[in-house]
Symmetry: C2
Subunit: 334 residues, 2 copies
């Protein structure tokens, strides 16, 4: 039996969360299908291979520029399926509502969820609602669980990554985290930055026929730094990022400088980080840049041999390690 | 836009919840697969027909005689698949934990979940954890989402129900609701009644090859009275129950008499209410009574023509209507 108590850092996507999942859940629930290092499970049902994934949503505030907890709940699960190489098909929905919640706000949130589902061509096919007593819930929590079908082409996997591969990002990082933070108004800042929350399926499906595609992940909780640490931990390789190449919107840079955050740890909800063979990097970038969601796609780094670290080359010629996230910079961002 | 606010009664399984789902969710999320009158969706994926269902769990206390929120989260979703005529296969798990929660209690709950999954032969294959700020959660909320595969035999459906059919229950009603209520100790009562929480798959699979099987449902929130109202609303038929025939444990009767509850509205988590043709009622009962979970199975009522009501014949020769649940007798029971 462990002693100790849950802290906010157990939910941030970083080291504490990974250790909690490993120590409390992974062994007890172990089965051949469960791989807690992956965001989705691959299941063979008769002749059909499906992907299955789930995500919970506790973002605060519930509505912010560019989206709401409703659209986020669609995009989060759709994107976990998309980056695994699947066609997202069906979602289930869990609603936990606090007593006293305004029904017209709930309607706005469901409208936003419905629009996101239409845009992503997924159907919400089953659901459940629970009401929490006043004071026992943060207004509204959602969970969505998705089923996708395997698309032809590459099966993206960290195991495919090789030294010399290129690391690409489909657009600027940190917009979602920053937009939600600004919407809280607790920092006395305002801005019109929009969350990047969107389905990434057009981006992921554009790369599946490239033999050099290795791996894709949507950098949500913990940002691109956390995806990078998942890659180096599981591959034993290292990653070098070029700071000057990583697209960051001015508003994100400004807010991060004022508040002391690092944009590489902030959540995106409509971006893809992809690892591709050097020989396919140009093709992949060109395909992304031709899509509305990928116009600012960039090559941001390279996989290096045998270092097991995430190194950032800074614009001034220096370098620093991007350490694995421990403390939580921003709770309830997704 | 609606005005108004969420109340506890919106989560009780009765009329307010049904209307909330119809008014806020059903039209906005409408698609050909979504039928909010069912607990699961049927999806065709290639040649494979699967059933897909989800459930949220907010039971308080988190541990009680006969189970915990962990085993309940397995049984609830397994049972929704089982009563639809499926073999439960895979579950996903969402965990919402409040900051400050004791990790050793979480471990006990995950142990109980793991044992329930093993007993029910389902695999928990993917999951997600979110941490709620202290004061923004009731300790622990769970959601599970399940995939099952269609078994050969009858496809149970309210549309198959005919006048003259028999209504069966697989065991005593109200144990779960009463056991949880006693565990709260807020009523100053104590008892050793165990929750009936269990997988009902052995019970449901035992009936699938009976041509006279019409419909099955696990009477959770709102109890057998709420299942009965679902049947009469959707079929246009009526139901007559025989009070003397409905099995109720003495402890449940005693608690209900003391506190003014009606056991027919209390949740079961390991029972099946089945509607079968009169000609198969004896076979169905015999099969259930031969199983460990069905020894006290009984015929409790009959489908009658054209009444659209749920009528209870009492032991003293009187009768009363079992009205549709409105106020919530017992929040956070599942």
């Amino acid at each position: 039996m462990s002693t100790g108590h849950i802290t906010l850092a157990h939910g941030n996507g970083g080291r504490y969360m990974r250790e909690l999942i490993a120590d409390v859940f992974a062994d007890r629930l172990a089965n051949v299908f469960l791989d807690t290092s992956l965001d989705s499970a691959t299941l063979q049902l008769g002749s059909q291979e499906i992907l299955f994934t789930t995500d919970g949503f506790t973002v605060q505030p519930l509505e912010y520029p560019g989206g709401s907890i409703g659209s986020l709940a669609v995009h989060g699960t759709v994107n976990d399926l998309a980056v695994a190489g699947a066609l997202p098909r069906f979602l289930s929905l869990n609603v936990f509502i606090e007593e006293g919640f305004a029904i017209n706000q709930l309607e706005r949130i469901v409208n936003s969820m419905a629009a996101a589902a239409r845009d992503a061509s997924v159907s919400i096919v089953t659901g459940d609602t629970k009401v929490l007593r006043r004071g026992e819930g943060g207004g509204l929590y959602l969970a969505t669980t998705g089923i996708g079908t395997r698309l032809p082409g590459v099966r993206p996997s960290i195991a495919r990554i090789k030294t010399g591969d290129a690391v690409l990002i489909s657009g600027p990082v940190g917009d979602h985290g920053t937009a939600v933070m600004l919407a809280r108004e607790e920092f006395g800042l305002r801005g019109d930055l929009q969350s990047d929350s969107a389905s990434v399926f057009p981006l992921t499906s554009a790369l599946l026929d490239l033999d050099g595609l290795r791996f894709m992940r949507d950098p949500t909780r913990g940002g691109i730094a956390t995806v990078a640490h998942d890659i180096v931990r599981q591959s034993g390789l290292g990653l070098n990022f070029e700071s000057a190449a990583i697209p960051v919107n001015d508003a994100v840079t400004t807010v991060c400088e004022m508040l002391g955050y690092d944009p590489y740890y902030l959540a995106c909800e409509g971006r893809v980080l992809a690892v591709v063979a050097e020989s396919d990097a140009g093709h992949a970038l060109a395909r992304w840049q031709a899509l509305p969601g990928g116009m600012r796609a960039a090559r941001i780094g390279t996989v290096v041999d045998d270092h097991n670290h995430v190194l950032l080359h800074t614009e001034l010629g220096g370098e620093r390690f991007l350490e694995e996230l421990e403390d939580d910079p921003l709770p309830r961002i997704c």
